[in-house]
Symmetry: C2
Subunit: 343 residues, 2 copies
């Protein structure tokens, strides 16, 4: 167990390193107002902390920097989220105040807010479309062999998907099917649609429709669309401003990762409610070995449907980021919930 003084010193070093990005020496720690020990004492403690694995030295005669374990200890035991300033809160509120016509715009806006407030890169996932409910289905033939299927959800979200029309399908039948679905499956969550079709209305369909099998496969295609969540970014290039990313090759690597939505979505998706912090190798993804990802979930009417996250260097302003993320995720939840309530 660490002594009180060791805690104080560890905290001081991490704070210092976070703001200055340079190894911190005993002298500068000892000069802090809350530190009443000489550099020599600090040095001894630092040596101990290094032995315990909380600190490391870039080279033998330099100051210390926090190790991954050090950061972990810091966030687990020492971290007190910083309250947002009045100014920040007002800023957030005013940005959210613009009247957005679409849910996606609200989400995109959250990403922007996060990145501009933190000056790191922000990623927002979701909300999972398929949790929302069917409002209306349309299948509009374009030519003899193709049509576009349009799904409108109760949240006003529109998904569309091209489908090819099997030969021998009857346009009247198609209309009938669409009508039946709209009558009987309204308000069924998209995620259950495919099941519901076979479970609830297959009998009806079989009765009225000639080419049952073809019709089913057509519908399955129509509901195939974007199963994966959308990914929104804010400040994609913010991370380049950090001194640890002053190498073009690394930068390129990371930016390329951003282009792969699948991967990003896997890396940032949070499975537990609330704030999650993944430091360096805890991400289990080599290019992020010296990055930290902090995520929070947001909820709609109590259900956690998406993730907001920040990507920065391990030397990240944890206090600030956690505070902001907490605030924004809750605000976003509020806004989305009120919106979904409306409908």
């Amino acid at each position: 167990m660490l002594t009180e003084r060791q805690l104080l010193i560890l905290n001081a070093i991490i704070d210092d390193y976070i703001t200055h990005a340079e190894p911190v020496g005993s002298r500068s720690v000892s000069k802090r107002s809350d530190m009443n020990y000489s550099p020599a004492t600090i040095r001894n403690e630092m040596s101990d902390l290094e032995e315990l694995g909380f600190l490391e030295k870039p080279h033998s005669s330099s100051g210390r920097i926090p190790s991954q374990k050090g950061y972990r200890y810091y966030v687990d035991h020492l971290l007190s989220p910083k309250k947002l300033t009045k100014k920040e809160i007002i800023g957030i509120q005013s940005l959210f105040k613009e009247r957005f016509s679409e849910v996606e715009q609200v989400i995109q806006q959250s990403a922007k807010i996060l990145s501009s407030l933190t000056s790191y890169t922000s990623i927002v996932l979701g909300p999972k479309v398929f949790e929302s409910k069917l409002k209306q289905l349309q299948i509009i033939p374009l030519s003899d062999d193709s049509a576009v299927a349009i799904i409108v959800t109760d949240t006003g979200h529109v998904e569309n998907q091209m489908v090819s029309l099997p030969k021998g399908i009857n346009t009247n039948d198609l209309e009938k099917v669409v009508n039946i679905i709209n009558e009987r499956l309204k308000d069924v969550p998209l995620i259950h649609l495919r099941n519901s079709i076979s479970a609830e209305i297959s009998n009806v369909l079989k009765k009225y429709i000639d080419e049952y099998d073809k019709m089913i496969s057509l519908l399955n295609n129509a509901f195939l669309s974007q199963q994966h969540e959308k990914v929104f970014f804010g400040g994609k290039t913010n991370i380049l401003a950090q001194p640890e990313f002053h190498d073009v090759d690394r930068v390129r690597n990371i930016l390329n990762i951003f282009e792969e939505n699948e991967l990003v979505s896997k890396l940032f998706r949070s499975h537990v409610q609330g704030i999650t912090i993944k430091i360096g190798e805890e991400n289990h993804f080599e290019p992020f070995d010296d990055c930290t990802i902090i995520t929070a979930t947001y909820a709609v009417n109590g259900r956690h449907v998406g993730t907001v996250g920040i990507l920065g260097p391990t030397r990240m302003e944890y206090r600030k980021v956690v505070g902001i993320l907490d605030y924004v995720s809750k605000d976003l939840s509020k806004i989305l919930s009120s919106r979904y309530q409306d409908n």
Copy 2:
């Protein structure tokens, strides 16, 4: 006017600089197989070419690099587009062969092809949605005061737009209006929709509808959607591989520009049919002062509806890029045309 020999030398220097990215000296020019002069002679010519403004020196005792004027002369007089290799053609064909369900996917694929073939960044604009024609309009109420308007075009493109329902509007009336529009304005180009409404059907509407004014403003909102072309990128980070972009701050600048679709669209939109080359300051945009943009237009059934473009350093492989761009733009035109024909 330049002499035959000066042309030869200018061409040699540019070719060399394009491939090696380093100032080229008299000796290396003279060593080329088609060059039967000694370094000293070359030096004299180079000196003249510099005086004429086609070449410049990074410092007094270094080799020459082409000036912007030099590149301009090169593309205007010396440039012979490189024929694609069999391999490249086969590659393009096979990538285009995948059966895409949506036009946008074809476009996105073109961007990918271009960037991977050229190893620069590619940008594809359009096609302008509003040139396509109305297939079907839907307005689906979500709640008492909001609805989503969906426009399906003859090309299978789906646009959707949230609209707020003015108070006192009658749902039956809304349905009537939508029906009238679908009957009478089918196949009207989106761009003319708003005019057509007032011109062709305002009488009918006035007859049947109570709240004419409110209805019109609602429709105007519904047709407001994305007027600006979409922007597709390929190989956003390719440009970072070029030695002239090995500075993180510049890189950041450029990548930030990529995020501003409006700006990108303005910078890359081509107004003339065929290949356009803008070198350095010809772009009239300071961050691109040492970039070249090469664009080509693509057409659907003879109408030029969009732009494909490449962004690279002024030291760009002009011959190759022009060849590829020419080929891909034509191929894309073919594919899109055949698709639009279908419907």
